[in-house]
């Protein structure tokens, strides 16, 4: 029974990882920006929701506010940080350091405004009940799964039907091709950042409900997203989402065999194994040599 419990718990977490990872992968695939501040987007969205909740707003309004904050932050990063560096042909690590600097700022501004340490919203949705003997599930489990599936469906439809979505996918595959067709990659970058960031918001809100967040949670989120993007195969949204799910499940199910202190290491062992044995990831094209 413990196996099933761990599997389902892993799925709940993995669904949230999948959402954040897909956001990261979307941005990375379309703009080739290693968006380290994606974790900061997550933190910001979570705290905005908690703030709205504590101020007595309707939850739906809080969700909207959190999404708006995430989108605004993502776009601001694109316009104010990544684009100026890109103009200078800034290298991969330059972007990394700049984004890391911004993450530090966000983390500490949040600490000063919202207070340091643990923050959460207190919702009965997060409390698990025994649905079967020895199997505890909270309503949040279903909400997480439904939210993840719904977001993915919406995203897939957008990317395959809407002209801008199709262009975005093309951008991910071949930026030169797109320029040849006269499409503005600048506008599409903004779109990629907006879409990618909005995906982090539901995950942040649900995390604030379940395990709670603190101002420093962004690093962990960023690492998981990055790992999932690589494991899934760069450029593949489906891959990143599945890999996020896989990492969440791995982190949980590993406890069937190992002691609890190895849980976090498990996701990175998966990452390492993938890089060594299948560097193209689950869905990526083969890495050309």
């Amino acid at each position: 029974m413990i196996e099933l419990q761990l599997l389902l718990g892993g799925l709940q977490n993995g669904a949230l990882y999948a959402l954040t990872a897909a956001g990261f992968a979307l941005i990375f695939g379309a703009t080739k920006v290693f968006h380290v501040a994606h974790g900061a987007t997550f933190t910001l969205a979570g705290y905005v929701f908690i703030g709205a909740w504590n101020a007595g707003w309707h939850p739906a309004l809080g969700v909207l506010a959190a999404m708006a904050a995430a989108v605004a932050f993502g776009i601001a990063m694109e316009r104010l940080v990544y684009r100026p560096i890109g103009r200078h042909e800034g290298g991969f690590f330059t972007v990394f350091v700049a984004a890391f600097g911004v993450s530090i700022v966000v983390q500490n501004v949040i600490a000063m405004i919202a207070g340091r340490g643990f923050a959460n919203v207190d919702s009965p949705l997060a409390t698990a009940t025994e649905v079967m003997p020895d199997l505890f599930l909270a309503p949040v489990f279903w909400i997480s799964i439904v939210a993840a599936v719904a977001m993915f469906l919406a995203l897939t439809i957008f990317l395959s039907r809407h002209p801008a979505g199709v262009a975005l996918r093309a951008l991910a595959q071949n930026a030169d091709l797109l320029r040849a067709y006269g499409l503005s990659s600048g506008k599409l970058s903004v779109l990629a950042f907006a879409l990618g960031s909005v995906l982090a918001a539901p995950a942040a809100i649900l995390t604030a409900m379940t395990s709670g967040i603190n101002e420093a949670i962004g690093n962990h989120v960023m690492l998981i997203s990055m790992a999932a993007t690589i494991v899934g195969g760069v450029g593949s949204l489906r891959g990143a989402a599945l890999a996020g799910l896989l990492l969440g499940v791995a982190e949980s199910v590993v406890l069937v065999f190992l002691d609890t202190q190895w849980a976090e290491g498990a996701s990175f062992m998966v990452l390492f194994a993938f890089i060594l044995f299948r560097p193209s990831g689950m869905f990526g094209a083969a890495v050309a040599r």
Partner: protein, 291 residues
């Protein structure tokens, strides 16, 4: 004040060495790693164990650190070097995260979270020597070595690999060996820095070898400018003295002091990258679009 400044100077020399050796990997060979703190940690633990169990001879400690860090880096790098670019970054991130777990769990060697306490001060022929001159000597030695290699054939080999790996191979360069050597040399330097760090602090625990430390070392390098000889040193001095200098600002309320310092620190990092993306000493015209 002198003691305080010499403490900062020692740390600056140690981190200068770390950033400079990382530069050898990133700037010279184009191998992007965010696991430098792992090798620093390996060196720190082995140097500390030499000082604790055998003799507090700094040379022996540094030698042991270089051998352990360089040797283990080979075992880790050889498989991981098969992949390039972002993949290697990700591999090194995975390595960094796993290393922290291992450092925490291998209590017999590392003391775990509790760390290794009471590392004796370094002695040469029975005389206690401060770490500052040792660190400066180590820094100068490594800088000279790297400058010599940069001008010599090994530097050309690494530059060739960085700029066009397949063309380097087509000229008969054994890319895997060259990369592994670069990683091993760089890791050995990080190991020496780690040993000096352990001797300087007399205490090490796993919290000094986390991802944050790796990112800090990387930030020093990037802020100073990759591919330059003195850039990493400047970056190390700046990023170490900035928080120290900020702590002299007395009008910030004590409870907010940490956050304000961090905000200034993070903000400076971001702004510098936006306005001088190649670092302070880097060639601004030289685009690194392949990076």
């Amino acid at each position: 004040m002198i003691a305080y400044l010499s403490n900062i100077a020692t740390l600056a020399a140690i981190f200068g060495l770390l950033a400079a050796t990382l530069n050898f990997m990133v700037g010279q060979a184009g191998i992007f790693s965010v696991a430098h703190a792992v090798f620093m940690g390996l060196g720190a633990y082995s140097g500390a164990q030499v000082a604790l169990l055998l003799v507090p001879d700094p040379f022996l400690a540094c030698l042991a650190a270089a051998v352990v860090a360089g040797g283990l880096s080979l075992c880790l790098a050889l498989p991981a070097l098969r992949v390039r670019g972002e993949y290697f970054v990700a591999a090194s991130l995975g390595l960094q995260m796993m290393a922290v777990t291992l450092f925490t769990e291998a209590k017999g060697l590392t003391g775990g979270m509790g760390g290794l306490v009471g590392i004796p001060q370094p002695r040469i022929f029975g005389v206690v020597v401060p770490v500052l001159p040792l660190a400066l000597v180590a820094l100068v030695v490594f800088l000279l070595l790297m400058a010599a290699m940069q001008r010599g054939s090994f530097g050309r080999t690494l530059g060739a690999i960085r700029d066009a790996e397949s063309a380097a191979e087509a000229l008969g360069k054994n890319v895997a060996v060259a990369k592994a050597l670069a990683v091993a040399f760089s890791a050995a330097g990080a190991g020496v820095a780690g040993a000096l760090f352990a001797l300087h602090l007399s205490f090490v625990n796993v919290e000094s070898f986390t991802l944050e430390q790796s990112v800090l070392i990387m930030a020093m390098l990037i802020v100073g400018g990759t591919g330059t000889l003195l850039g990493p040193i400047l970056g190390a001095v700046l990023l170490l003295s900035l928080p120290a200098a900020l702590s002299f600002i007395t009008f910030i309320p004590p409870t907010d002091i940490g956050s304000v310092q961090q905000i200034i620190y993070g903000g400076a990092m971001a702004l510098l990258m936006i306005f001088r993306p190649a670092g302070l000493l880097g060639d601004q015209k030289r685009g690194r679009s392949e990076a």
